[in-house]
């Protein structure tokens, strides 16, 4: 019996050693230790063996089985290792990785989105309006005097039918206040048009974000914080801001907000003309006249409005010296922002 098992192992050892691929090995495994193997048959004979010999017999068979499994597993590891070694290629690891096509948003869109997200984070909704507007929404409702020079053909594009291209996205504020009662908390990003000849800092088509907050108890202090937080989000936490008195027809008091120069950090440089400050936006408390025109109770509600040019901020942020670069769409430039 013992002899029979030893012979089996010797035979198996030889066959396993000669086996050269994994599928052949799987067959051998079935043959030697599988369900229908000789060894398994021996287990079946256990009941024919006298009771006192059973433990010894069982142990012997188990030992043989363990030995066979060890041989098979060992050979499997050898075979796998040799296959793996063969498939190793000896790569030049310094070669560049696969080039996946990558495009990108236009710098103006990137900045626009960043601004939208900052304001969405502060609870603002995004409102959209139309590019083509009438004089009422672009001028009258914004308290612009009838003879104000901004209404001139030299400043504003008109259509042949008398309508005009909005000169600021404040038109959206007006349309929002016409349609919705306070409280209002919106920004309106979009295109604006002014009859400026294209140069390093002007374009007849440009982009603006305007904001409007109307509610009970809204103050200039709220506005200052909101705009400061906005500036910090875009230009970094160290940015300082200051308000300067200014004039806009639709806000009273009106201010311009400056931020510390993003290039020199306020020390004074060529970009900020040594002042240390850069103009960021125009803002102010909504003029009660505007509320009155739009039939909003100007005693109950106060509000602030602000607006800034995306083009200017994009130039400041990416240090682009000439506005026209943004509209040339030279792919050598655009791909820098991919």
């Amino acid at each position: 019996m013992q002899l029979q098992l030893e012979e089996l192992i010797v035979k198996a050892k030889q066959e396993i050693g000669q086996c050269s691929n994994l599928s052949e090995l799987a067959n051998l495994k079935a043959q030697y230790v599988g369900k229908k193997s000789e060894l398994n048959n021996l287990f079946g004979k256990l009941k024919d063996i006298p009771a006192e010999e059973r433990p010894a017999f069982g142990q012997a068979v188990n030992r043989a089985r363990n030995k066979l499994e060890e041989l098979i597993d060992g050979r499997e590891t050898e075979l796998r290792n040799s296959i793996w070694n063969q498939t190793k290629q000896g790569l030049d690891l310094t070669m560049p990785g696969t080039a996946y096509p990558r495009g990108g948003l236009h710098p103006l869109t990137k900045v626009m989105r960043e601004i939208e997200d900052v304001f969405i984070g502060m609870g603002f909704a995004i409102a959209e309006g139309f590019d083509i507007e009438d004089e009422f929404h672009n001028f009258d409702a914004l308290n612009t005097p009838k003879d104000h020079p901004s209404r001139n053909l030299a400043d504003t594009f008109y259509l042949k039918d008398g309508n005009l291209l909005r000169t600021q996205t404040s038109t959206v504020q007006v349309r929002t206040m016409e349609k919705y009662p306070p409280p209002i908390r919106i920004i309106s990003p979009g295109r604006c048009y002014r009859n400026d000849k294209p140069d390093a800092s002007h374009s007849p088509v440009f982009h603006q974000v305007e904001g409007l907050v109307v509610d009970e108890g809204v103050t200039m202090a709220d506005m200052k914080d909101t705009l400061h937080r906005f500036a910090k989000s875009i230009f970094g936490n160290d940015v300082q801001v200051r308000l300067r008195p200014h004039f806009f027809p639709f806000t009273e008091p009106s201010v311009e907000m400056d931020m510390s120069c993003s290039v020199c950090g306020g020390k004074g440089c060529r970009v900020c003309k040594q002042s240390g400050w850069l103009e960021l936006c125009g803002a102010g408390m909504v003029d009660p006249n505007v509320f009155d025109i739009l039939k909003i109770d100007s005693e109950r509600y106060t509000g602030y409005a602000f607006g800034f040019g995306i083009d200017r901020i994009t130039m400041m942020k990416y240090n682009i010296p000439d506005l026209r670069i943004l509209y040339d769409n030279d792919l050598r430039v655009l791909r820098q922002f991919s």
Partner: protein
Amino acid sequence: MQISLEWLKTYIKLECSLEELVRMLTFSGIEVENHYSYGDIPNGVVTAKVIESQPIEGSDHLQVCSVETGEQKLQIVCGAPNCRSGIIAALALPETNLKDIQIKKTKIRGVESHGMLCSEKELSLSEDHSGIIELPADTPIGKSLCEIWNLPDEIFELEITPNRPDLLGYMGIATDLAASSGSKLTFPEVNSANTETDANTKIDDHLSLEVKEPTSCIRYVARLIRNVRIGESPEWLKQRLIRSGLRPINNVVDITNYVMLETGHPLHAFDYNKLPKRNGKAEIIVRNAELNEQFCALDGNEYSLSPSNLVIADSEKAIALAGVIGGTNSHITDNTVDVVLEAACFDHTSIRKTSYQHKISTDSAYRFERQLAPETCEEASLRAASLIVTLAAGTLSQGKLDVWNNKAKPLIIPIRPSRFEQVIGISLTKEQIQNCLNRLGLIYLGEGCYKKYYPNSVDAIPRLVTNADGVLFFESQKNRNDDTVNIDKVEEALYFEIPPKRVDLTREIDLIEEISRIHGLDKINSRQVVPNIMDQHAFLLKRKLADYFCLRGFNEVVNLSFGDPDHFSLLYGDNSDESRKQIELLNPQNRNLSVMRTNLAAQLLQTASYNINRSTKQMRIFEMNRVFQENHSLPKIENCHLTLLAIGDNQNKHWKTSSLATDFYDLKGLVTDLLETTGLVDYRIVDYSNLYYTEEAQSILCEDKQIAAFGKLKPSVAINFGIDSLELKSDVWLADIDVESLIDLTRDKTKQYKQVPKFPSSERDISFLIADNISFNSIQSEIKDAVGNSLYGLALIDEFRGKQVPGGMRSLTFRIVFNHPEKTLTDDEVDLIVELVKNKLKSLWDVQLR
């Protein structure tokens, strides 16, 4: 907590529908987890008296009985061990439908049976099938069981939030329901006067009480009831316990449980005669356990206690784990004669710790853990005592033992109507506030001026005083600097005394919550903080479109909104319909900026030309922006479009990938893939010719709206924009997407989960040569058709023309994935389908299978 509607109705008049009741509970903050009908027993089940019973010959358990229902005598065969003459049972008459059986006249072992005597299980009342139901001897016979037992009932499973221990009993629930519904309450009247007492025995002569731990045991009330007759509880009481999820044990224990369910305050009863006496007196001592003190609890376990466990002890040993579980050494048994009734209030943290430490959860611990009021002890004790006197024939000894240390004064809280409005957003009158709170049992003390007070400060409750004008205010608290309250300036407030049960009401804001709940949260009109201005879907979809093309290698460009009318005619030819849509400027800066653009393509072509002139000959660019059309009045048509342009290879040359020239299928793949990521599925693709090269352009329609078009630009148009495709060795590819339409078509459409196949799939590839003029579309639809409902996926994985393929032919390879919804397809079955497909193709066209 499980409650029975019938029982609840004994305290409160509820005439509303079940749905209305569920709604009322839900909106007063009591969540109804489940409710179901209980004991919907047919009227054919009646009470009947077993007059005589005889064993049936040849059966070891069956008996033949004569049963009387008042009107008639019936012969019934019954196999229950407890069936005997004299009992009153529940009889299901013939033609009665029970849950599992229909009762019929039948013969059992040759003996006629005219109905069935029922067990609780047979009536779906419980799982008890050990014997038939036995009703009390005084039950009238011939009545329907429903009538006798007040059935059917509705059982509610309620979730009581942890802050509301006052709702852990029927009376609490009824009180809250009454507050929100305005229904009338009727509670059992309990006072010592209407319970007969035994003038001859005084409790003091028989029992003494010592509370050694006044912090853990806030109050302990003991009463002594002598000469009780232990037995079963009356049927109504048992029914109420069962329907509330408790098992009846004996009348005294049942009464303690009953009163706990009623008042929410757990009670315990001890067997007085098991307590050792000293000088003829038993002792109740409330103390901490000794270290490792052993205690055999009623759950059958022995616990080893520690000094943090509060116990009720007699002079020798612990007889109960206070507030958690009783002991086997003192509980009520059939032999009990005299009963000590405990109604106590224990500190909730102490109970929680003990219950957690020994992992014992009982109805009692559950309630004490949530902090009960010591005030309820007395009413619960009296109620239980009077029930024991009535139902167990005991006599109540005179007096009670009552230790109540640190008795707190009732809490007084001011509430400002102005503050309510400030927090909730609606204004209520003083009367409305009073009404809400009165209904909850708060006592209105009067109007005053508001002053905040601090329930957790050293002298917790400030004194309420009245000034010369009769205005209430809190006298200033010590150690605070707000003594100088100018009554003229402070706000008006209503002062309320809080019922002791409402341990959760300690601050003004708690009262505000109660008022808002009782007044009704549905009566709060929502206030719009920000108008619904933003179109989130449009906003996000536009971003998604731009991002999609960026990730596919496209660069966004931005052009002015002004167009050149000459470019327009280059694209559209002399199409006057199109040109009439143009909007002209009154004061353009020059002719090539004199109209509002009607398309984005012209400027994309200019951009391409600009870049080609600067040696960028491979490009993938897009613009997403508004285009404009005349509309005679405002608003003009201002629609957002996304137009893309591709010239040259579809990616940069790279050592690893063989680069490919952009072609029609690139564009088609991009556009269809994009549409699918937006969730649009039901679109059609049709051939298209407009500004694009007619042989290689298609458009996509959805709901008969053109949402996209793509194809090759006519080289003759391209050259007008300075792009020479011959010189460039590349065509110009354009695609346009009507973003506005896509926004509309994808609004409110969310992809829905589909179950993945239950059975494994198998796949087969079939290849064949077929004439060029037979379109993929027609081949595909024939294959789909032939495979039928086993089709899970179908893809064209190869097209080949070459040396081995005769001219005018191409070789196509389709991969078909098979999956049957109901079974695993065998190889043979799949092969059979493939054969079917092949035969179909052969029969239709001249195909050569490969």
